[in-house]
Amino acid sequence: MRHFLLCSLLSVLVLSCSNSSSNSGESSTVTSISGAGATFPYPYYNIVFRDYMRQHGNITVNYGAIGSGGGIRSLRDRSVDFGASDAFLNEKEIASMNGEIIHIATCLGGVVMAYTLRGVDSLRLTGPLIADIYLGKIKKWNDPRLVAENPAIKLPDLDITPVYRSDGSGTTYNFSDYLCVVSPDWKEIMGKGKALKWEAGIAAKGNPGVAGIVQQTEGAIGYIGSEYALTLKLPTAKLKNRAGRYVDATLETISAAANVELPDDMRATITDSADPGAYPMSLFTWILIYRDQKYDNRTDEDASQLVDLLQYVISPKGQKVAAQINYAPLPPQALKKNRQLINKINYGGAAIVSGNLSAATDSTNTVLK
């Protein structure tokens, strides 16, 4: 293990050296920003950070998709500049961080119900129905309760095969979190968590595993991260939201879930959102940083570069990238709260001057206006 660490450290050193030499013509120093955490937004961060680095030759951003828990631990150890998590910190976690943490929401995602049923291209489901399917109480597609919800289509006399994740997953957490809200039975029997003790169905590893089984099995239904399902254009069920509407999972409906009164610190679950156009199984993902950036050997330069990066992520450019790869962009209200939070970041009490850094200046400034 120690050797592995040494090797990776060495390779990082070598890489950063070669980087600095190639850029030495344009700028004197290379700053590196490092982050670690959630895997769900990793494809988005990967692209948005790459774009950012292209515009800033003297900055490298490294993101390690090590899971939300690992990201929070790394930030607590101050071994990274920012952490990333699919769940906001609870009071206990906040108390353990030794410093005020700011939550910046970066984009939204959802959990969708993909299914395969020959001849059925529009299926309506409700939270309690999903709960009962996964609890094994609804076993057939022509169950009266499913038929009552779908009067327009003819459901076959076929066994339902619920498919769930065999590995621990934030998708499972968000799926079960929603079902806990809408189904007392589910809360009682299953509860919520990244891994559960399942009552019915079969399991597969990762979004690809679940999607593969659902696509290849007549009568299967499975929950999948929206970013994956939308990219694959899988047939997904409409879900009944709190306002009583049946809503498809699209980037618009997922974004709409955040169109509610949000707390000033952005620590909000938007599951079962009250917005009439909202898709009910929606969620934020956050970047976490210390409010006071003056710790360890950090300079105000480091701090302002980090703030500049955050502003780029929530800028129209950054959010457009999110939408291109099927992460739902933040609605205006969430962006406004984000900006207020970014303004609170300081360096030993002094305000951070940002937006003065090389090429991104124009884009970030237009966002701020």
Binding site: S166, G168, K194, L196, G201, A203, Q216
Partner: protein, 285 residues
């Protein structure tokens, strides 16, 4: 001098293998101790609960041990007729003929196919057949995994068996022929009994291979953490539960998974030991 250096080199190489094996066992034992201390070895093995929720966290290995044994033994059962006929084909009836060489290389080729390919083949090709057979609604489970496993272990069982069959001394067979035995009778009463220790051992080795197979089984068994009720049911094996859950696991769960790895290690080691003993015992008898 050169001889001495070479000896030293061999000695070091052999020692390194031993040290590595010991290190693996040590790592498994030390990292599984948390789970064994929490539940006790007997309780861990006989408990079928696998509940990763933090409020009711509880881990037991029984459902995975049974899932492993079901799939492996059923696969062995399925593979016996095929592996034995291939062995007789290559080792007795067409011994030394061109066709035997072709069959042998094709069967050996089966051993070289990566297990993920078997998994995909099972997923896309065998599973629809299993659904059509009416085994269960979605095809996954012990039955499907065992069929694919059986095909995967045929080369391991057959190549060693045919080796032993072809080593039966000619004078014995000629003696039987001279007494008027037919070819079938020679196989039944001379070749098979003479080669039986080797045949039994090769099937036990194939069983050991089936016990540890991971990728294909993970794709086909359904990955449900319960004791499988019969061949139609879904389940999980020791190897597949580790493959599924190792990535995100930490704390007690990680320790429980490593403990399952240790148990699997012990089971395969015992199986191999039995194969050796059988070979020794039967060949002396």
């Amino acid at each position: 001098m050169k001889d001495k250096i070479f000896r030293l080199f061999l000695f070091v190489a052999a020692l390194l293998v031993l040290v590595l094996a010991a290190a693996i066992v040590y790592a498994l034992v030390s990292r599984s101790s948390e789970a064994f201390q929490e539940y006790g070895i007997r309780e861990f093995i006989t408990n079928a609960e696998w509940d990763p929720r933090s409020a009711t966290e509880e881990y037991g290995a029984l459902s995975f041990i049974l899932g492993t044994l079901y799939t492996a033994f059923f696969a062995l059962l399925l593979c016996i007729p095929f592996a034995l006929s291939v062995a007789l084909f290559n080792g007795v009836y067409f011994k030394g003929k061109k066709i035997a060489g072709v069959v042998r290389s094709v069967v050996d080729l089966l051993a070289g196919i990566p297990s993920i390919v078997y998994g995909l083949w099972g997923f896309y090709t065998v599973r629809p057949l299993v659904i059509d057979l009416g085994v269960n609604a979605q095809g996954f489970g012990i039955f499907l995994s065992s069929i694919v496993l059986a095909i995967m272990i045929i080369p391991y069982a057959s190549s060693l068996s045919s080796e032993f069959l072809s080593m039966v001394p000619n004078n014995l067979k000629e003696g039987a022929y001279s007494l008027g035995a037919t070819r079938l009778e020679v196989v039944q009463h001379v070749s098979m009994p003479m080669a039986s220790p080797g045949i039994v051992a090769s099937f036990i080795l194939a069983l050991g291979r089936a016990l540890g197979e991971t990728m294909a089984v993970t794709m086909l068994i359904g990955n449900t953490n319960r004791i499988p009720h019969g061949l139609r049911d879904t389940g999980n094996t020791m190897a597949s539960v580790i493959a599924n859950q190792f990535g995100e696991a930490d704390g007690l769960k990680l320790s429980a998974l490593i403990a399952i790895g240790l148990l699997l290690f012990i089971i395969t080691a015992v199986i191999n030991l039995i194969a050796k003993l059988v070979m020794k015992k039967l060949s002396h008898a």
